[in-house]
């Protein structure tokens, strides 16, 4: 057993806070890191210590292996959790952390690499007997080869970056004429984003469902799955609503996919928490899509239905503990239904990211609602970072109860100053297609276009109250909480002052 006395979380925002919370509960000392421009970030307050990564871009701070390691040395950390994104799936980082003599809270570098290269991963899965999406398995660069390959698979096809992930550098091609441009753009993006311009083709499955399985393995080789997460509600190839259980899985199919997920993890000698993503085609066949070798954004819905703390077990496994016997002996089963909604700072119509200042921030709460936030009132939402503002998770006794609870949570949410995708999330939850459970990754494109209603009288009056007051010279005012803006007579504190 290795001991962890002080954990550095090499991340920011909600996932940094998420990990710091559990570490604190385990009695482990905590270290947050921050870029100078991000010193007001909410994760900075959640650790025993906060180490500055200095000024500069993301590449010079949260993505800088030397800066992270230096922060670990200066703060006396003996372990590093990468969260998701940034360096989480960077095998070199994993090796550097261990070379430094620190505990790496993540899978072995070898497993990260094996899954990180999509072509290698596909090959490895096929060997392991895990079905993969039909496609080309050589990172061809010659347009002619790719064209022949595409003809063989049959259009429409997907062009993907071998080193990519999360839909990055991926594009759909419907006819041969568009193939060349798509391949070139994919290679350029792949080169700039991953430093590897090899791409490959995949048969595009029409109206698929995106269902992933949580896997977990300890250092002794015990490998289990912790059931599925349905991730088919997407826009721009990115998930916005996830739920578990999935309405698409029969007990038999769930069993088969779970076994395949465990096989996939074993095939690369996986240790810790990981996710195996599958595509489910309209004939009910499943195909390995990719693996995420880290804690998944949507892990809270698994925690909600299983009543467990996945980050706790990431740390326990990193210390050398075995998985709990009720996991390995199959005594753990989901209870109820959970839905996660990703609140993004973006234009609700064209889904494009938005920046701004969060002037008002009120989170939903109460029974069955969990909110993991990356911002608070006053936060600056910048284009430098992921536009995820918060993850709102609703758990209910059954699926209908979870859906209604999720909508209730959206009713309680107040975000002013930055546009969010709240209207889109509400539209998804209200849609007949989502409620039926029989939906696929094209759900969002089929949503009825919502009419934006004009402001009601109360909104005009509230705005007039806020705007008719003269702004203090030289600066716009923060919010109606500022008594000098609100123009009211009673003032906070007066009664007791």
């Amino acid at each position: 057993m290795r001991t962890i006395r002080r954990l550095l979380v090499a991340n920011r925002g909600e996932i940094s806070v998420r990990v710091l919370r559990t570490a604190r509960e385990l009695g482990i000392g905590t270290v947050a890191v921050f870029a100078e421009s991000d010193a007001g970030g909410i994760h900075v307050e959640r650790a025993d210590r906060a180490a500055s990564l200095g000024a500069g871009s993301v590449a010079e701070t949260y993505l800088s292996i030397p800066k992270i390691l230096e922060a670990a040395r200066s703060s006396g950390a003996d372990a590093i959790h990468p969260g998701y994104g940034f360096l989480a799936e960077n095998a070199d980082f994993a090796r550097a952390v261990e070379a430094e003599g620190l505990v790496w809270v993540g899978p072995p570098a070898g497993a990260i690499e094996a899954m990180g290269d999509k072509l290698r991963a596909r090959a490895r899965m096929r060997e392991a007997g895990v079905p993969v999406v039909p496609g080309s398995d050589a990172g061809a660069k010659d347009p002619a080869d790719l064209a022949r390959e595409a003809e063989r698979l049959g259009y429409p096809i997907l062009v993907k970056a071998s080193a990519g992930g999360g839909g990055k550098g991926m594009s759909r091609v419907d006819r041969p004429a568009d193939l060349r441009a798509a391949v070139e753009e994919a290679m350029r993006i792949a080169a700039s984003a991953f430093g590897d311009d090899s791409v490959y083709l995949e048969k595009l499955l029409e109206r698929p469902r995106h269902v992933e399985f949580q896997v977990f393995a300890d250092q002794r080789g015990n490998t289990v799955h912790l059931f599925e997460r349905e991730c088919s509600v997407q826009r721009r190839h990115q998930k916005i609503v996830e739920e578990t259980p999935s309405s698409a899985l029969s007990p038999a199919l769930r069993g088969a996919m779970g076994e395949a997920a465990v096989e996939a993890a074993r095939a690369v000698g996986y240790i810790g928490a990981g996710t195996i993503e599958f595509l489910l085609d309209t004939d009910g066949r499943f195909h390995f899509l990719e693996a995420n070798t880290r804690l998944q954004v949507e892990h809270p819905i698994t925690e909600a239905t299983l009543g467990i703390d996945l980050v706790r077990w990431q740390l326990e496994v990193a210390r050398g503990a075995d998985l709990p016997s009720d996991w390995t002996e199959g005594r753990l089963s989901p209870r109820g239904h959970a839905i996660e909604m990703r609140l993004y700072a973006e234009d609700p119509v064209d889904f494009l990211p938005r920046a701004g200042t969060v002037l008002e921030w009120i989170e939903p709460a109460g029974p069955g609602v969990r909110v993991d936030s990356g911002v608070a009132a006053g936060s600056e939402v910048s284009l430098e970072y992921d536009p995820l503002l918060a993850k709102i998770v609703a758990r209910g006794e059954d699926r209908p109860a979870a859906v209604e609870r999720a909508l209730r949570a959206l009713d309680e949410l107040v975000v002013l100053g930055v546009e969010t995708n709240r209207p889109l999330l509400a539209a998804v939850l209200r849609s007949e297609e989502f409620r039926s459970g029989a939906y696929d990754t094209d759900l969002v494109s089929r949503l009825p276009r919502e009419e934006t209603s004009p402001a009601p009288p109360a909104a005009w009056i509230a705005a007039a109250l806020a705007l008719s007051g003269k702004a203090p010279s030289g600066a716009p005012a923060a919010s109606a909480r500022d008594p000098w803006e609100s123009g009211d007579r009673w003032r906070p504190g007066e009664s007791a002052g």
Binding site: V349, L352, L359, A466, P492
Partner: protein, 159 residues
């Protein structure tokens, strides 16, 4: 007391507030402010309690009401109008969002076809192709690769 002119979602209202009464384009409403610690949390409007939240930013007010958020502006000259309103359709060769110009695929004087990619804009580590709205000739390229541009910025002109 004189009223103020407000705009939201392409509509305008003349709003006059006077001791518990509001005139919206001449229509009268009686209202009462319900506050908590100085913050407006609800309006009792014509006898009905309506929860609201409002935050001011310069000449803009953001209002949360019945789960929806409204951006209300008090027209104050050019600076206000220059700011693009959320949800409005994005004009031709204009940056649809703030970001960095990743690549410029044409040169001044070059002919472009409708739909042809002219500029690649990068934001949130994702790339977005900005395409020509119609056939024409590039008469002006306003920015260099690497430039940071705000939403609504004109990236190129096409004759």
């Amino acid at each position: 007391m004189k009223g103020i002119r407000l705009e939201s979602r392409g509509e305008g209202r003349e709003v006059l507030l006077e001791n518990g009464n509001a005139l919206l384009d001449g229509t009268a409403h009686s209202f009462r402010e319900i506050r908590r610690g100085g913050s407006l949390v609800a309006l009792e409007l014509d006898g009905t309690v309506v929860p609201v939240r409002v935050a001011r930013q310069g000449d803009r007010a953001f209002v949360w009401c019945a789960g929806d958020v409204f951006e209300v502006r008090r027209p104050a000259g050019r600076t206000a109008r220059a700011r693009p309103a959320g949800g409005e359709p994005h004009a031709g060769l204009v940056a649809p969002m703030p970001g960095r110009i990743r690549k410029t695929l044409v040169q001044t004087g070059e002919e472009v076809a409708k739909g042809q990619v002219v500029v690649v804009l990068e934001a949130m580590k994702m790339e977005h192709a900005i395409r020509a709205p119609q056939d024409g000739v590039i008469t002006k390229l306003r920015h260099r690769e690497g430039d940071l541009v705000d939403a609504g910025t004109v990236l190129a002109e096409i004759s």
